[in-house]
Assembly symmetry: C2
Homo-oligomer: 357 residues x 2
């Protein structure tokens, strides 16, 4: 069992990663709670629900509510329904919400916790690599039809508990999705770490030791950044490497058509290409392309129109005065935020899409 | 023009009170913004809208959206509509939301600002005494059918600008509503201040000098408390004096049937009565009753059932483990948080209602 402590402006919390945590989850709560609401996605509930619920119920007053799996549950309707459930179950300011499942549940239940009675404790119990990554850093949100995560808060959990036994039940595309963020942590931090990640073969069963080690390293990169810039005023933007185009693709294709990480993978390829142009440097575009391709990331997608993509990129939260900002690399481990005119963006995107296809 | 600076854990902001501020409002913005969305209630828009909008439009990119006056606009539907408007008007993280109107608009637009793109700047421009009071302290929220302010954040404004010229257009019941909070500040802080407030006659036109002085003193009391306990872990609860029963009455009678302050006034009478019993002391129950009565506060109301009231009081955010907490006074200026069993609460409430009628 590995533990990292994250310091925020208001609290500090532990990120615990290890095997067999779910069936001992009561031991990892940072304190005793008078009332707990577990928010779980329906798929995760089917696989691990009883283990967690029974373990907690032996010690605490627990209610459970499930939401349909998938990004479309990050909606205003589910948000309001969960708030109503919290009231129904008499949660008060000393109560706890547990977000149990993928990144969707973490974002949704975290946003509920951040606004229920102006904020109560919540714990992230991720069941995917991606959710483990996104559970660190305190970003919670729901989607608006006009864009991803447009409604939300900066609100840290009081603990993150990641049981890597759940890797066994993780579909291949979810492993790909999560590993895109690990690749990103490599690219924005350190050549050696990046190369180490490219040695992993996602098409065969993962070596838990190696995975845990790489996830730890990735969270270490992220923690160092978010501790310095919790509210994304400056360097936290670096974590959006690959996400400006990635989010736009995800949103335009429709959530569920492509996973978050698969879209970010394409976004990273574009960001590498653009970095080469902007900084007149060589980037490991081909190495990344080959690794993504070998590991069956979808690189040939049915592209939305350029105009729609650019409009969506302008809705990105980094954007100011409708000018698109992207994170590029001066070199590996040296990210930089760059403003792009519509004209420039369009030209590079057209070229990129043409070459990728 | 008077100015007080409030210190929060994250920012400090000025509360500016004076005459003729609305027609110079651009001078009181703490910085330049690329884009401003004014949220205004329909009634206020009719009276002061053009002044403010024209003043700002000369310098800034401004959009305006109005919401129906009244507590029922603090709904999930209006909240979501305003978020959609913010997107529609291309607000980004460097943009500003101005809450222009009564307390409802401050709470609603403030909650929108606190969650739009995980939080953007907002300024409170209150047009009522009550809104001026509630704009200090960073509490923003919407209502749930099951209770007031159950969905919200702690999120300070970047400025509060209160033009007391708006007192001229304030209906008598709104003056009563606001002055209940000033009375409360007296009771929880200082005998002399309390007596000073009871010298005011709300049935004749207010003396602006006296009013501004008393409002300043009230905000001073509040500021001192919220600076020490922003997130209401302990002493901030004192500001809820009169509010536990007050909120329950407001919510059970239906918002709009009785103003917030009128309900709090009855709540304060109950809290004084209970303080006498609990602390075996004498409280200025009669002095307050006479002043409220003389100033036409509705003290004879059509009471909701005791069970419904107690249920609502349990939903109060101070409540823990379904035990009602009330703020009482050991003496004037010495508030204290007290737990009450259902049995005890019921007995005291029945007696209070019988005696008040």
């Amino acid at each position: 069992m590995h533990k990292q402590t994250i310091q925020t402006s208001t609290i500090q919390y532990d990120v615990v990663v290890g095997k067999g945590l779910l069936s001992n989850i009561d031991q990892y709560l940072p304190k005793k709670y008078n009332n707990i609401l577990i928010v779980v996605d329906e798929v995760v509930k089917g696989i691990y629900g009883d283990t967690v619920i029974d373990t907690l119920k032996s010690a605490e007053n627990v209610a459970v509510t499930s939401v349909p799996a998938g990004e479309s549950s990050k909606s205003i309707e589910q948000y309001y329904r969960l708030l109503s459930e919290a009231i129904e179950h008499h949660l008060d300011r000393k109560s706890l919400i547990i977000a149990f499942g993928g990144g969707m549940v973490g974002d949704l239940a975290g946003f509920v916790a951040s606004t229920y009675m102006r904020g109560i404790d919540f714990i992230q119990v991720p069941t995917t690599i991606l959710a483990h990554d996104s559970s660190v850093g305190g970003k919670v949100a729901i989607n608006h039809p006009k864009g991803k995560n447009l409604i939300g808060s900066f609100y840290p959990p009081v603990a993150v508990i990641y049981d890597v036994d759940t890797l066994q039940s993780l579909p291949a595309k979810e492993i790909r999705s999560g590993y895109a963020e690990v690749v990103k942590h490599g690219l924005i931090s350190d050549q050696a770490f990046f190369e180490e990640v490219l040695n992993v073969d996602l098409t065969t069963p993962l070596d838990t030791e190696v995975t845990v080690d790489q996830l730890q390293k990735g969270i270490g990169v992220k923690a160092k950044i978010v501790e310095q810039d919790e509210r994304e005023s400056n360097i936290r933007k670096f974590l959006n490497f690959g996400h400006t185009l990635g989010h736009a693709i995800e949103s335009e294709l429709g959530y569920g058509k492509i996973t978050h990480g698969e879209a970010v993978a394409i976004g990273m390829l574009f960001a590498l290409k653009l970095s080469e142009e902007k900084f007149n440097t060589r980037m490991p575009y081909k190495a990344l392309y080959d690794w993504l391709s070998k590991n069956q990331y979808p690189l040939s997608i049915s592209w939305p129109g350029i105009n729609q993509l650019i409009d969506k990129m302008k809705l990105d939260k980094k954007s100011e005065n409708s000018i698109v900002q992207m994170v590029l690399l001066e070199e590996i481990g040296k990210p930089s935020v760059v403003n792009l005119s519509d004209h420039e963006l369009r030209a590079h995107l057209e070229k990129f899409i043409r070459e990728l296809d």
